[in-house]
């Protein structure tokens, strides 16, 4: 399970053998890919921040009448009374007859050929060969199919269950429909018994819907909020804490330094994923929480040591530099030295570490959500959406591909951004990169 742990690991320069000191220089020439990556990252942030204002569907609204659909336009749906099945006509059937055909139910009946006692009914996509899905087996002469009906041409095949011989086949295309109960639930009909309109309008879904009939576009935007929030806030926190702690350790030195580095060694040695899961369970999710805070806290507790070590190494090297010495000799106070001289020198490295930590954090969140230990519904994240979508990868690939693509693009953008930033700082540092 730790492949992800590792694969999600950020780029970390190996501990510097000799820390490089950057001489400030004004050579800022961002490459094309850097600009592209920055634009993509910005676009993603804008999408999740402003997108919901433009596409105002509720990401948690479940259209049970439109489960796992591809892109659909707004359409009119017949309102059918879901509970009360149509009464069978008295006249005998002569073949496999379709009495009613809509996406709420397809009602079939057939005559009784002599010698057949048990029937088996199959349903298939009419464009494909084969009998398809076995729906039912029994002795009755009618069947009501309600199983995830779509607006496509179906072929029903009735066979003798004992001999397997084909008896009848027929084709039908159900018309769009919605049950009274669902229409009431969605607020399309008033909650009252009695007569109701025959048709209601269902909204469009530009990217389709997921396995619970929720609008994918709205969910991608809502999910991106959680993913990017974790992806940005968690690294901010653990890099902030790590560099503060590591910087102080490096600057103060002595016993505190020893203690800090020992602690970092310990935390690094903890099996990352096990502790993520353990911490996640220990913290639990309180009422009304979306599960993001425990995730961030767990990441903070486990991820700070790398940046602490990095910054400590830098500070150690800087501390013995002549310009720091001269500053100290000329009576500049410690806070001011840290602020004026140390910080500007480690800032580029911090920025690089940060941009590489973002993809790591996004991936960690995705992985935890993927194994069901991330955000809690009705909140969602790209990882949680992948988790929902992977089960239907073969039949409904879009439910996995959209969120997976979003994760990959975001991670790619931040990785390229990090790469570019590192190249920049390296160049400024005189090509002493790693």
């Amino acid at each position: 399970m730790a492949i992800p742990v590792f694969r999600f690991a950020p780029w970390q320069p190996p501990e510097p053998v000799q820390a490089s000191v950057q001489q400030p220089s004004a050579q800022w020439r961002p490459s094309l890919s850097l600009i592209a990556a920055g634009t993509v990252a910005l676009a993603m942030l804008l999408l999740v921040a402003l997108g919901p204002l433009l596409w105002q569907q509720d990401p948690s609204q479940q259209w049970l009448s439109q489960i796992s659909r591809g892109p659909t336009p707004a359409l009119a749906a017949r309102v059918v009374d879901g509970e009360r099945a149509a009464r069978l006509p008295i006249s005998p059937a002569r073949r496999l007859e379709v009495l009613e055909s809509n996406t709420e139910r397809v009602q079939l009946r057939w005559p009784a050929p002599s010698g057949v006692t048990r029937y088996r009914l199959y349903r298939a996509d009419a464009r494909q060969p084969g009998r398809g899905l076995p729906l039912w087996q029994g002795r009755e002469l009618s069947y009501e199919d309600r199983l995830q009906l779509r607006r496509k041409l179906y072929r029903y095949t009735l066979v003798d269950a004992d001999s397997g011989l084909l008896l009848f086949a027929t084709e039908t295309r159900p018309e769009p429909a919605i049950s009274v109960f669902e229409a009431q639930l969605q607020g399309l009909l008033a909650v009252a018994d009695g007569p109701h309109p025959n048709y209601v309008m269902l909204p469009a879904h530009p990217l389709g819907t997921d396995a619970l009939g929720r609008d994918l576009l709205a969910r991608l935007m809502a999910g991106g909020r959680s993913s990017l929030f974790v992806g940005i806030v968690a690294p901010l926190l653990f890099i902030g804490f790590g560099s503060l702690f590591g910087g102080l350790a490096g600057y103060i030195g002595g016993g505190f330094d020893q203690f800090a580095m020992r602690l970092a060694d310990f935390v690094v040695a903890l099996p990352f994923l096990l502790f993520m899961i353990l911490l996640r369970i220990v913290f639990g999710i309180g009422p009304g929480e979306n599960g993001i805070m425990p995730l961030i806290v767990a990441m903070l507790l486990l991820s700070w040591p790398s940046s602490a070590r990095l910054i400590r190494g830098q500070v150690l090297a800087l501390r013995s530099q002549p310009f720091i010495d001269s500053a100290r000799l000329s009576g500049v106070g410690t806070p001011r030295i840290l602020w004026r001289h140390i910080l500007p020198n480690v800032l580029p490295i911090l920025l690089v570490a940060f941009s590489f930590a973002i993809p790591q954090a996004i991936f960690t969140e995705a992985f935890l959500s993927f194994i069901g230990m991330g955000v809690s519904p009705p909140s969602t994240s790209w990882g949680a959406m992948c988790n929902d979508g992977i089960k239907t990868l073969l039949s409904q690939p879009r439910q996995l591909l959209w969120p997976a693509a979003m994760i990959s693009i975001a991670v790619l953008a931040f990785n390229i951004l990090g790469d570019g930033l590192r190249d920049l700082t390296d160049r400024r540092g005189g090509g002493q990169g790693h």
């Binding site: 479940q62 489960i67 509970e83 076995p134 396995a211 009939g213 069901g372 809690s376 519904p377 239907t392």
Partner: protein, 531 residues
């Protein structure tokens, strides 16, 4: 061209080919296991995988045949009365080391399973036997158990109370025989490996590589070995990933693969014949009746009942043929007097109705003296389906009733612990039958049952259960159960949601595999391979 070069390179890399899914010549089949059996000690095993393996390598007094009827196993003849049962063992029944299976082996096995220091979690399944509970609690010595070996081939069982379903119990894995000398010789190592175990079933465990492989071979000393048409069952894959199992099936490596929702369309598209069978288990929402819980209010539960439609859940969300919407405490597989119980006593079906539900909710609010309802906690499992289900309920509660339902998704052990502690308002739970009788479901919500995690306490419910337990008359029993079924629909101690089914694909040449709730699933004892 390029393609064939590529294929040739890969071919050079591939060192060995795997055994095929079915081999008609060698009469061998290959399967994948979802997990490794935690133990094959029949007195201590609890899980379905162990039950599957044990059903092949061991045999109890009775067994299930190809059509699912009880047949003689080690026992040749038997008698059942309200007071007890008597079994005559067949002459030819042998252990894999050649010694005869005797009545003493059963007496030892049952006493062993009940000894407190065995800590068998299925000890309760012996409780119909006289003194079993007291022995299990350590209040009586194991020898006080109401089972005696009259001779090497005759076994007498005394009941605590009438037990019309006792014969089906004797086919259950806990009731299988154990050899005293073997258990004592190997001690804790008993059944930990293939060579620390004795067999009396149609197959022997030939090889057990932990975490990787199990191999069963025909037991030549089995009394009915002549009727077996499978020589070996090979399980070289252990993976719980349904996608991986399906890929193995597609590749012709295994003869049987279970399907889940996401694989169904793909299997249909490839033209496989999809099969399904009712797994006998009931899924339901359990309400918490501990003092101070909103869910203890009947009007509130009625409101939930009127808003939740099992049919929509099954047909729209689960979307698997064979899975049935549940309207009763008793799944359709439960036996009645002559026909299935549900055919004899149809269940009442509540029609979903938003305005009725809202009226009930308003009444509950007044009865509870609440201004508004606080958020409720729904304890749910961590499987994808459990989450989907929970999200559906959450949405339904929000939209239909204006209630906040918070999903507390927990991994297995933590969820059970929270249920035990009563740390929930509503819990999504499931129950699989332990034995082939209606009582395995009926006594679930009796006030004394520890599995009644919501602490439902209704004297009428208890009375009906006791009535059925003490009666040997089937008509009285089942009419009491019919009243129980109505009571569950009326008072809503639980809200049934669906009855589960297993969907699977099977190699077309493999025939006669029995899939069922009881007696180890799947069962290959009577299977054969078409040439």
């Amino acid at each position: 061209m390029l393609q064939s070069v590529f294929v040739a390179i890969l071919g050079a890399l591939a060192v060995t080919a795997q055994a095929a899914a079915v081999d008609a010549q060698a009469r061998s089949i290959s399967l994948a296991l979802a997990t490794e059996p935690p133990t094959l000690h029949s007195a201590r095993a609890t899980d379905t995988i162990a039950s599957f393996v044990l059903a092949h390598i061991m045999e109890g007094l009775l067994r299930y045949d190809a059509s699912g009827e009880l047949q003689g196993g080690v026992a040749e003849r038997w008698q059942l009365s309200e007071q007890g049962a008597r079994f005559w063992l067949r002459d030819g029944a042998r252990w894999s080391d050649g010694r005869a299976v005797t009545a003493d082996d059963f007496v030892f096995a049952w006493q062993y399973a009940l000894r407190p220091d065995t800590a068998s979690q299925y000890a309760f399944i012996f409780y119909p036997i006289k003194n079993a509970q007291l022995v299990n609690e350590g209040k009586l010595p194991p020898t006080a158990l109401g089972v005696k070996a009259v001779s090497a081939r005759e076994l007498v069982v005394e009941f605590e109370q009438p037990c019309p379903y006792f014969l089906s119990l004797t086919a259950f894995m806990s009731y299988m025989p154990l050899r005293r000398d073997a258990v004592e010789q190997w001690g804790r190592r008993y059944a930990a490996d293939a060579d620390t175990l004795l067999f009396n079933g149609p197959f022997v465990l030939d090889k057990w590589v932990h975490g990787a492989e199990l191999l069963l071979r025909k037991n030549s000393r089995y009394w009915d070995a002549a009727s077996l048409r499978i020589e070996q069952i090979h399980m070289p894959y252990i993976t719980a990933d349904p996608g991986a199992q399906f890929n193995l099936f597609r590749d012709g490596q295994i003869a049987l693969a279970n399907l889940d929702t996401g694989l169904l369309d793909e299997a249909v598209k490839r033209g496989y014949e999809i099969r399904h069978f009712h797994s006998g288990s009931l899924f339901f929402l359990e309400f918490n009746f501990r003092p101070g819980r909103i869910t203890a209010n009947r009007s509130f539960r009625k409101a939930v009942q009127y808003v939740l439609n099992p049919d929509a859940l099954v047909n729209k969300i689960i979307g698997l043929p064979g899975v049935l919407p549940a309207y009763s405490l008793f799944p359709v597989t439960v036996r009645g007097h002559q026909k299935p119980f549900r055919e004899e006593y149809p269940a009442l079906r509540i029609e979903q109705n938003l305005s009725v539900a809202r009226r009930y909710l308003e009444r509950a609010r007044r009865e509870l003296g609440l201004e508004t309802f606080p958020p409720l906690m729904l304890l749910a499992g961590d499987s994808p389906r459990a989450l989907q289900e929970a999200e559906y309920y959450q949405y339904l509660f929000k939209r239909g009733l204006g209630l906040d339902l918070r999903i507390d998704q927990q991994v297995f052990k933590q969820r059970l612990e929270k249920m035990r502690r009563g740390d929930f308002d509503i819990a999504a739970a499931a129950w699989g039958p332990d034995y082939d009788d209606i009582m395995t479901f009926a006594d679930l919500f009796a006030s004394w049952n520890d599995n009644n995690r919501g602490r439902y306490n209704n004297p009428e419910y208890d009375r009906l259960v006791k009535l059925a337990q003490r009666s040997g008359d089937p008509l009285r029993r089942f009419s009491a159960m019919a009243r129980l079924q109505d009571l569950v629909a009326d008072d809503v101690p639980i809200l049934p949601t669906y009855e589960n089914a297993m969907l699977y694909v099977q190699h077309p040449k493999l025939k006669g595999v029995r899939r069922s709730v009881f007696g180890g699933d799947p069962n290959f004892r009577d299977a054969w391979i078409e040439p």
